[in-house]
Symmetry: C2
Subunit: 196 residues, 2 copies
């Protein structure tokens, strides 16, 4: 399997990422919630390069921190972005596609929803998100795409925490998962080891 | 006072916006949660035109639906984006700036937070959001900017619901609020009246 990597992102994680413990990698100073827009642009261009030749008619992400990357990336594909919401609000109506997604960060379970009208059957969907850990958010999004009668063109991730296994599990299930940086191990003292 | 308008957005609201009742305007098919990325680009360019000549060193928005517009707009200013989060999560740490924000849509009160390190004193902050109604989210963001020792360069809004008064109240308080479209009244049957 050919794997793509984005060296500029890896170097930025080495420089500005903070490993809080064995599982939490703080990249809030450049990836979220403070966003280096030039880096986002480079990431969007990289996703476009990686998925060149793959039909993509729509980008799907999940609120909140996936939205910015998805929007900047969408400019390179010239396709609409749809984001899954984590709760039902007063201004969502109509038929909903949904999935249950346990949140690693928030230690709860969210119902994530996408109105069916925003994910028509037959679309070829690129899923974009900032992080991939156990893959539960992706499981939910993939389930939503398939229940819509659409197909998953691929998954583009900024940072995959490889040691938590979600990416490799999804690859073994036949999903094309491309992560710009894969952390194979990390430790507050020993630092971060990236997959080559 | 000179007011800017974006005719393409107004026409899109007329074409695809759905008035659910006297207060809820559904624009999820193009502005959120399905996003027309070309429209976002046009909006970002418009904000850059409107605020040309105003020093902007940082863009602040609030999750979730402000993030995409803020990121696309930031490309035209070449400044970082910071978004306020609505709850404390495991990967936020350090000193926090916060404000209480009642949500019109969700009928609750959120604590919105920005890590102080992402909003340094002295910055000139452009606040970007998709909607402005009563202005409570903006009140919270403006309070956060000022408590950081930074200043509000202006506020850029996609759709202002003028009849709910938040925009005019903030303008009377001396805040430069520029909305690409201002809805002065709306009704499921009679449609939408925009401010000229």
């Amino acid at each position: 399997m050919r794997l793509f990597r984005m060296q500029a992102l890896i170097e930025r994680i080495r420089k500005d990422g903070v490993v809080l413990d064995g599982t939490i990698l703080k990249v809030g100073s450049f990836l979220n919630q403070q966003i280096d827009i030039g880096l986002y642009n480079d990431m969007g261009r990289e996703f476009a390069r990686i998925f060149a030749g793959t039909p993509v008619t729509r980008i799907l992400t999940i609120e909140a921190s996936g939205i910015g990357i998805a929007c900047v990336t969408a400019q390179y594909f010239n396709v609409p972005v749809v984001f899954a919401k984590k709760s039902k609000s007063a201004n969502v109506s109509g038929e909903l596609l949904s999935a249950q997604v346990p949140s690693f960060t928030h230690k709860n379970v969210n119902t994530v929803i996408v109105p069916r009208e925003f994910l028509p059957a037959g679309e070829s969907v690129l899923i974009i998100d900032d992080f991939l850990a156990h893959g539960s958010a992706l499981d939910g999004l993939i389930s939503i795409v398939r229940s819509a009668g659409a197909s998953v063109a691929g998954v583009g991730i900024a940072i995959e925490k490889g040691f938590q296994g979600g990416g490799d599990r999804l690859r073994s299930e036949g999903v094309r998962v491309e992560s710009l940086a894969i952390v194979d191990s990390m430790d507050p003292e020993r630092g971060i080891a990236f997959r080559n």
